[in-house]
């Protein structure tokens, strides 16, 4: 399979443009929160397999970008951290994925045609 120059540069452009969220760990956090709407810190850690320090830093970065909201409250008398995807976060993820779909489907199409 070969990627032509135009496609490759578009893909790189997309990744550079969204370099803050085009990190696998952050993208997986956004995707998880997109479907779950909200999740507690231990759930995210367990489901996505992050260390607590790693998860904290990614959550903080996503919060700074306004893509998630973090709140703390007591659940069964224990302090628990909640992460909620904001509307901006949902919009950003969706537009990124739609653009990635366009690029990848172009490559897949090209590959399928060349196989035929």
């Amino acid at each position: 399979m070969s990627l032509d120059g135009e496609l490759l540069s578009t893909l790189v452009g997309l990744m550079e443009e969204d370099s803050e969220t085009m990190v696998p760990a952050r993208l997986s956090l956004l995707v998880y929160l997109y479907f779950a709407r909200h999740a507690t810190f231990p759930v995210l850690q367990k489901k996505l397999g992050f260390t607590s320090g790693n998860l904290s830093s990614h959550l903080r970065k996503l919060e700074e970008l306004g893509l998630i909201q973090i709140s703390k409250s007591f659940v069964k008398l224990r302090p628990t951290t909640f992460a909620v995807l904001t509307k901006e976060g949902a919009e950003r993820l969706r537009s990124q994925m739609v653009r990635m779909r366009e690029l990848v489907s172009m490559v897949v199409d090209k590959e399928t045609k060349s196989e035929e």
Binding site: R37, K87, R94, M97, M100, R101, V104, S105, V108, T112
Partner: protein
């Protein structure tokens, strides 16, 4: 060596297809949520009307016509409106967390405006019909307005969504409503029974059907990004 390259190419293609599927799911998930919320709204409306009707009939039997009856009905309506406001405030924000396509948003606003107009028309027509002493004409007239409302809701839903079955149940419900006008006109004594069975049953059926089939939008989306 060549087989290794082919294997690696196939792996990349498989991963690319998974990514396309994920992108499809993310793209279509807001519609799933809005369908779920629409289903819950229908069930809430159906449940509220059923409960209010039950209380209304019980109070009518217990108190008979007059001031105490009207006062109690006032409390029932107040309670119903308050519970709907609370219910809608709880479930409608679920849709606001997700991006909505402009066409879908316009379709939703148009449907709300339509039902506002139709609701006013129902109230005005009922006042006119009952004042003219033509009470037997109320159920078929109500059915006609409801049938038109659900047909237009179907048209708005179809225009606002790329999925054909997104609001197909509305058109089936509209057909059932229009057909129910026939027994109402033939046997006016049974008109209210037909009205309750068709309208309330239909509202519950639409709500439950929307909830059950919401996930179907995701299945429908599979493979769309494969080009």
């Amino acid at each position: 060596m060549s087989s290794d390259v082919d294997k690696s190419d196939n792996d990349v293609i498989t991963r690319a297809r998974r990514l396309l599927l994920l992108a499809d799911l993310i793209d279509n998930y807001p519609q799933v949520v809005s369908r779920r919320v629409a289903g819950l709204v229908y069930i809430l409306i159906g449940g509220g009307i059923s409960f209010a009707t039950l209380i209304f009939m019980s109070l009518q039997d217990l108190l008979g016509p007059g001031d105490p009856f009207l006062t109690n009905i006032g409390f029932v309506i107040l309670g119903l409106v308050a519970s709907w406001i609370i219910g809608f405030r709880l479930i409608v924000p679920l849709t606001r967390s997700y991006p909505v396509q402009p066409s879908a948003s316009e379709g939703g606003k148009a449907a709300s405006a339509l039902w506002g107009v139709l609701g006013t028309a129902i109230v005005l027509l009922s006042l006119v019909i009952f004042q003219m002493g033509l009470a037997e004409l109320f159920p078929p007239t109500l059915q006609f307005i409801m049938g038109c409302g659900f047909t237009i809701t179907y048209v708005f839903g179809k225009r606002a969504s790329s999925y054909n079955f997104y609001s197909r149940e509305h058109v089936y419900f509209a057909i059932a409503i229009f057909l129910s006008m026939i027994p109402m006109l033939i046997v006016p004594a049974a008109a209210y029974v037909v009205l309750i069975v068709v309208d309330m049953g239909g509202i519950y059926a639409i709500g439950i059907h929307m909830l059950i089939t919401a996930e179907g939008l995701l299945v429908e989306s599979e493979g769309q990004g494969y080009g």
